[in-house]
Protein backbone atom coordinates (compact mmCIF):
# COMPACT_ATOMS: atom_id res chain seq x y z
CA UNK A 1 0.00 0.00 0.00
CA UNK A 2 1.57 3.31 -1.09
CA UNK A 3 1.39 6.55 0.89
CA UNK A 4 -1.56 7.91 -1.08
CA UNK A 5 -3.61 4.75 -0.45
CA UNK A 6 -2.62 4.77 3.21
CA UNK A 7 -3.63 8.42 3.46
CA UNK A 8 -6.98 7.62 1.90
CA UNK A 9 -7.63 4.84 4.41
CA UNK A 10 -6.59 7.07 7.30
CA UNK A 11 -8.77 9.91 6.03
CA UNK A 12 -11.76 7.57 5.70
CA UNK A 13 -11.19 6.31 9.22
CA UNK A 14 -10.93 9.69 10.93
CA UNK A 15 -13.76 11.31 8.98
CA UNK A 16 -16.34 10.04 11.44
CA UNK A 17 -15.30 12.25 14.31
CA UNK A 18 -17.86 14.72 15.61
CA UNK A 19 -16.28 17.75 14.00
CA UNK A 20 -16.31 16.16 10.54
CA UNK A 21 -19.91 15.04 10.91
CA UNK A 22 -20.92 18.56 11.94
CA UNK A 23 -19.03 20.23 9.08
CA UNK A 24 -20.46 17.83 6.48
CA UNK A 25 -23.98 18.32 7.84
CA UNK A 26 -23.66 22.10 7.59
CA UNK A 27 -22.34 21.77 4.03
CA UNK A 28 -25.17 19.41 3.13
CA UNK A 29 -27.93 21.74 4.35
CA UNK A 30 -26.22 24.83 2.89
CA UNK A 31 -25.87 23.08 -0.47
CA UNK A 32 -29.58 22.19 -0.44
CA UNK A 33 -30.37 25.87 0.22
CA UNK A 34 -28.12 26.89 -2.69
CA UNK A 35 -29.94 24.40 -4.93
CA UNK A 36 -33.33 25.77 -3.82
CA UNK A 37 -32.08 29.29 -4.64
CA UNK A 38 -30.85 28.16 -8.05
CA UNK A 39 -34.22 26.52 -8.78
CA UNK A 40 -36.02 29.74 -7.70
CA UNK A 41 -33.80 31.78 -10.01
CA UNK A 42 -34.43 29.41 -12.92
CA UNK A 43 -38.19 29.50 -12.30
CA UNK A 44 -38.09 33.30 -12.21
CA UNK A 45 -36.24 33.34 -15.52
CA UNK A 46 -38.85 30.96 -16.98
CA UNK A 47 -41.67 33.18 -15.68
CA UNK A 48 -39.95 36.20 -17.26
CA UNK A 49 -39.75 34.65 -20.72
CA UNK A 50 -43.21 33.03 -20.55
CA UNK A 51 -45.52 35.66 -19.03
CA UNK A 52 -48.67 34.00 -17.68
CA UNK A 53 -52.26 34.97 -18.27
CA UNK A 54 -54.31 36.03 -15.26
CA UNK A 55 -57.16 33.52 -15.21
CA UNK A 56 -58.78 34.99 -12.15
CA UNK A 57 -59.35 38.58 -13.26
CA UNK A 58 -62.64 39.99 -14.53
CA UNK A 59 -61.49 39.36 -18.12
CA UNK A 60 -60.44 35.76 -17.54
CA UNK A 61 -62.10 32.93 -19.48
CA UNK A 62 -64.04 31.81 -16.40
CA UNK A 63 -65.89 35.10 -16.09
CA UNK A 64 -69.38 35.63 -17.49
CA UNK A 65 -69.28 37.84 -20.55
CA UNK A 66 -72.88 38.96 -19.98
CA UNK A 67 -71.71 40.60 -16.75
CA UNK A 68 -69.46 42.89 -18.74
CA UNK A 69 -72.21 43.44 -21.30
CA UNK A 70 -74.60 44.86 -18.75
CA UNK A 71 -71.84 47.13 -17.41
CA UNK A 72 -71.25 48.29 -20.96
CA UNK A 73 -74.95 48.96 -21.48
CA UNK A 74 -75.12 51.03 -18.32
CA UNK A 75 -71.82 52.94 -18.35
CA UNK A 76 -70.69 52.74 -21.97
CA UNK A 77 -68.04 50.76 -23.87
CA UNK A 78 -65.42 53.44 -23.25
CA UNK A 79 -65.78 53.07 -19.48
CA UNK A 80 -65.36 49.28 -19.65
CA UNK A 81 -62.35 49.62 -21.99
CA UNK A 82 -60.77 52.17 -19.62
CA UNK A 83 -61.30 49.86 -16.67
CA UNK A 84 -59.76 46.99 -18.59
CA UNK A 85 -56.71 49.10 -19.42
CA UNK A 86 -56.33 50.21 -15.78
CA UNK A 87 -56.61 46.63 -14.54
CA UNK A 88 -54.15 45.21 -17.07
CA UNK A 89 -51.61 48.00 -16.55
CA UNK A 90 -51.60 47.43 -12.79
CA UNK A 91 -51.51 43.67 -13.33
CA UNK A 92 -48.46 43.98 -15.57
CA UNK A 93 -46.69 46.27 -13.07
CA UNK A 94 -47.48 43.87 -10.23
CA UNK A 95 -46.16 40.93 -12.22
CA UNK A 96 -42.94 42.86 -12.87
CA UNK A 97 -42.61 43.63 -9.15
CA UNK A 98 -43.27 39.98 -8.30
CA UNK A 99 -40.52 38.88 -10.69
CA UNK A 100 -38.06 41.28 -9.05
CA UNK A 101 -39.05 40.02 -5.59
CA UNK A 102 -38.67 36.40 -6.73
CA UNK A 103 -35.28 37.22 -8.24
CA UNK A 104 -34.08 38.80 -4.99
CA UNK A 105 -35.49 35.85 -3.03
CA UNK A 106 -33.51 33.36 -5.14
CA UNK A 107 -30.40 35.49 -4.80
CA UNK A 108 -30.94 35.66 -1.03
CA UNK A 109 -30.97 31.87 -0.79
CA UNK A 110 -27.75 31.59 -2.79
CA UNK A 111 -26.12 34.69 -1.25
CA UNK A 112 -26.73 33.63 2.35
CA UNK A 113 -26.09 29.89 1.99
CA UNK A 114 -23.03 30.07 -0.31
CA UNK A 115 -20.66 31.75 2.21
CA UNK A 116 -21.77 29.26 4.89
CA UNK A 117 -21.12 26.39 2.48
CA UNK A 118 -17.76 27.69 1.26
CA UNK A 119 -16.51 28.49 4.77
CA UNK A 120 -17.33 25.02 6.12
CA UNK A 121 -16.20 23.19 2.98
CA UNK A 122 -12.79 24.87 3.14
CA UNK A 123 -12.62 24.01 6.82
CA UNK A 124 -13.17 20.34 5.93
CA UNK A 125 -10.42 20.53 3.31
CA UNK A 126 -7.94 22.09 5.74
CA UNK A 127 -8.84 19.61 8.45
CA UNK A 128 -8.49 16.59 6.20
CA UNK A 129 -5.18 17.61 4.69
CA UNK A 130 -3.85 18.32 8.18
CA UNK A 131 -5.05 14.95 9.45
CA UNK A 132 -3.59 13.13 6.47
CA UNK A 133 -0.24 14.83 7.01
CA UNK A 134 -0.15 14.13 10.74
CA UNK A 135 -1.20 10.49 10.26
CA UNK A 136 1.34 10.01 7.49
CA UNK A 137 3.96 11.49 9.84
CA UNK A 138 2.92 9.03 12.57
CA UNK A 139 3.15 6.12 10.14
CA UNK A 140 6.59 7.22 8.95
CA UNK A 141 7.78 7.79 12.54
Amino acid sequence: MDLQQKSGVIAMRIRWDLEHVYLYLVCFVALILIIIGAVNLTQTAIAYVTPGYDYYGPYGPGELERDLEIWEERFGAEFVAGEKERYETLLEENQRRRLIRDLVSGLAFVGVAAPVYLYHWRKIGRLESKNIKSNAGDEAG
Binding site: D17, L18, E19, H20, V21, Y22, L25, V26, V29, A30, L33, G57, P58, R66, D67, L68, I70, W71, R74, F75, F79, E83, Y87, L90, L91, E93, N94, R97, R98, I100, R101, V104, S105, A108, F109, V112, A113, V116, K123, R126, L127, K130
Partner: protein
Amino acid sequence: MAKAWSIKNLYYYLVCLVTLFMFVGGAISSVNSAMEIILPDEPNVPIFYTYYPDYRAEFERPVFDPPSLEELEARRAEQENMEAYYRGYSTRRLLNSMAFMIIAAPFYIYHWKRIGLAAEERGDSDEN
Protein backbone atom coordinates in the same frame (compact mmCIF):
# COMPACT_ATOMS: atom_id res chain seq x y z
CA MET B 1 -12.18 21.82 17.79
CA ALA B 2 -13.70 19.01 19.82
CA LYS B 3 -13.68 15.79 17.87
CA ALA B 4 -14.54 13.11 20.40
CA TRP B 5 -18.02 11.60 20.48
CA SER B 6 -19.40 12.54 23.88
CA ILE B 7 -22.91 13.55 24.82
CA LYS B 8 -21.66 17.03 25.75
CA ASN B 9 -19.88 17.61 22.43
CA LEU B 10 -22.81 16.16 20.51
CA TYR B 11 -25.12 18.58 22.32
CA TYR B 12 -22.89 21.58 21.53
CA TYR B 13 -22.62 20.69 17.86
CA LEU B 14 -26.35 20.07 17.55
CA VAL B 15 -27.15 23.45 19.10
CA CYS B 16 -24.67 25.11 16.71
CA LEU B 17 -26.17 23.33 13.71
CA VAL B 18 -29.75 24.29 14.56
CA THR B 19 -29.00 27.89 15.56
CA LEU B 20 -26.79 28.41 12.48
CA PHE B 21 -29.65 27.46 10.20
CA MET B 22 -32.15 29.43 12.26
CA PHE B 23 -29.90 32.41 11.55
CA VAL B 24 -29.62 31.53 7.86
CA GLY B 25 -33.41 31.03 7.55
CA GLY B 26 -34.03 34.30 9.38
CA ALA B 27 -31.64 36.13 7.05
CA ILE B 28 -33.32 34.76 3.90
CA SER B 29 -36.78 35.48 5.27
CA SER B 30 -35.72 39.02 6.27
CA VAL B 31 -34.58 39.76 2.72
CA ASN B 32 -37.92 38.51 1.36
CA SER B 33 -39.95 40.58 3.84
CA ALA B 34 -37.83 43.66 3.18
CA MET B 35 -38.51 43.26 -0.54
CA GLU B 36 -42.24 43.08 0.15
CA ILE B 37 -41.95 46.40 1.97
CA ILE B 38 -39.70 48.05 -0.64
CA LEU B 39 -41.52 46.73 -3.70
CA PRO B 40 -45.14 45.96 -2.76
CA ASP B 41 -47.93 45.07 -5.18
CA GLU B 42 -50.21 47.95 -6.13
CA PRO B 43 -53.78 47.22 -5.01
CA ASN B 44 -55.71 46.30 -8.15
CA VAL B 45 -59.45 45.96 -7.59
CA PRO B 46 -61.56 45.90 -10.78
CA ILE B 47 -64.59 48.13 -10.44
CA PHE B 48 -66.74 45.16 -11.49
CA TYR B 49 -65.91 43.59 -8.15
CA THR B 50 -67.52 46.41 -6.19
CA TYR B 51 -71.06 45.54 -7.23
CA TYR B 52 -72.50 42.18 -8.32
CA PRO B 53 -75.63 41.80 -10.45
CA ASP B 54 -78.31 39.65 -8.90
CA TYR B 55 -78.93 36.37 -10.76
CA ARG B 56 -82.19 34.75 -9.70
CA ALA B 57 -82.31 32.01 -12.35
CA GLU B 58 -79.52 30.68 -14.57
CA PHE B 59 -80.60 32.06 -17.94
CA GLU B 60 -82.60 34.99 -16.72
CA ARG B 61 -81.32 38.50 -17.30
CA PRO B 62 -79.76 39.64 -14.02
CA VAL B 63 -81.09 42.48 -11.96
CA PHE B 64 -78.49 45.18 -12.47
CA ASP B 65 -79.01 48.26 -10.37
CA PRO B 66 -75.58 49.55 -9.37
CA PRO B 67 -75.02 52.75 -7.40
CA SER B 68 -73.45 55.82 -9.02
CA LEU B 69 -69.89 55.72 -10.37
CA GLU B 70 -68.72 57.90 -7.48
CA GLU B 71 -70.10 55.37 -5.01
CA LEU B 72 -68.44 52.49 -6.91
CA GLU B 73 -65.13 54.38 -6.92
CA ALA B 74 -65.48 54.94 -3.18
CA ARG B 75 -66.07 51.20 -2.66
CA ARG B 76 -63.01 50.38 -4.77
CA ALA B 77 -60.88 52.84 -2.80
CA GLU B 78 -62.06 51.18 0.41
CA GLN B 79 -61.14 47.70 -0.85
CA GLU B 80 -57.76 48.91 -2.07
CA ASN B 81 -57.10 50.56 1.29
CA MET B 82 -57.91 47.25 2.94
CA GLU B 83 -55.37 45.47 0.71
CA ALA B 84 -52.78 48.10 1.59
CA TYR B 85 -53.57 47.60 5.29
CA TYR B 86 -52.93 43.85 5.07
CA ARG B 87 -49.59 44.58 3.41
CA GLY B 88 -48.60 46.09 6.74
CA TYR B 89 -48.03 42.52 7.91
CA SER B 90 -44.79 42.55 5.88
CA THR B 91 -43.29 44.74 8.60
CA ARG B 92 -44.31 42.21 11.22
CA ARG B 93 -42.86 39.35 9.15
CA LEU B 94 -39.59 41.29 8.81
CA LEU B 95 -39.38 41.80 12.57
CA ASN B 96 -40.24 38.12 13.18
CA SER B 97 -37.44 37.03 10.85
CA MET B 98 -35.00 39.41 12.50
CA ALA B 99 -36.02 37.97 15.88
CA PHE B 100 -34.88 34.54 14.63
CA MET B 101 -31.48 35.96 13.73
CA ILE B 102 -31.05 38.07 16.86
CA ILE B 103 -32.06 35.27 19.24
CA ALA B 104 -30.19 32.46 17.45
CA ALA B 105 -26.87 34.33 17.06
CA PRO B 106 -25.85 34.52 20.77
CA PHE B 107 -26.75 30.85 21.29
CA TYR B 108 -24.61 29.91 18.28
CA ILE B 109 -21.64 32.02 19.43
CA TYR B 110 -21.85 30.77 23.01
CA HIS B 111 -22.01 27.09 22.03
CA TRP B 112 -19.33 27.46 19.36
CA LYS B 113 -17.02 28.86 22.03
CA ARG B 114 -17.98 26.02 24.37
CA ILE B 115 -16.88 23.53 21.68
CA GLY B 116 -13.47 25.19 21.65
CA LEU B 117 -13.26 25.16 25.45
CA ALA B 118 -14.32 21.51 25.60
CA ALA B 119 -11.55 20.66 23.14
CA GLU B 120 -9.00 22.54 25.23
CA GLU B 121 -10.14 20.71 28.38
CA ARG B 122 -9.71 17.38 26.61
CA GLY B 123 -6.43 18.44 25.06
CA ASP B 124 -7.77 18.18 21.49
CA SER B 125 -6.32 20.30 18.73
CA ASP B 126 -7.93 23.71 18.46
CA GLU B 127 -6.07 25.04 15.47
CA ASN B 128 -8.79 24.58 12.87
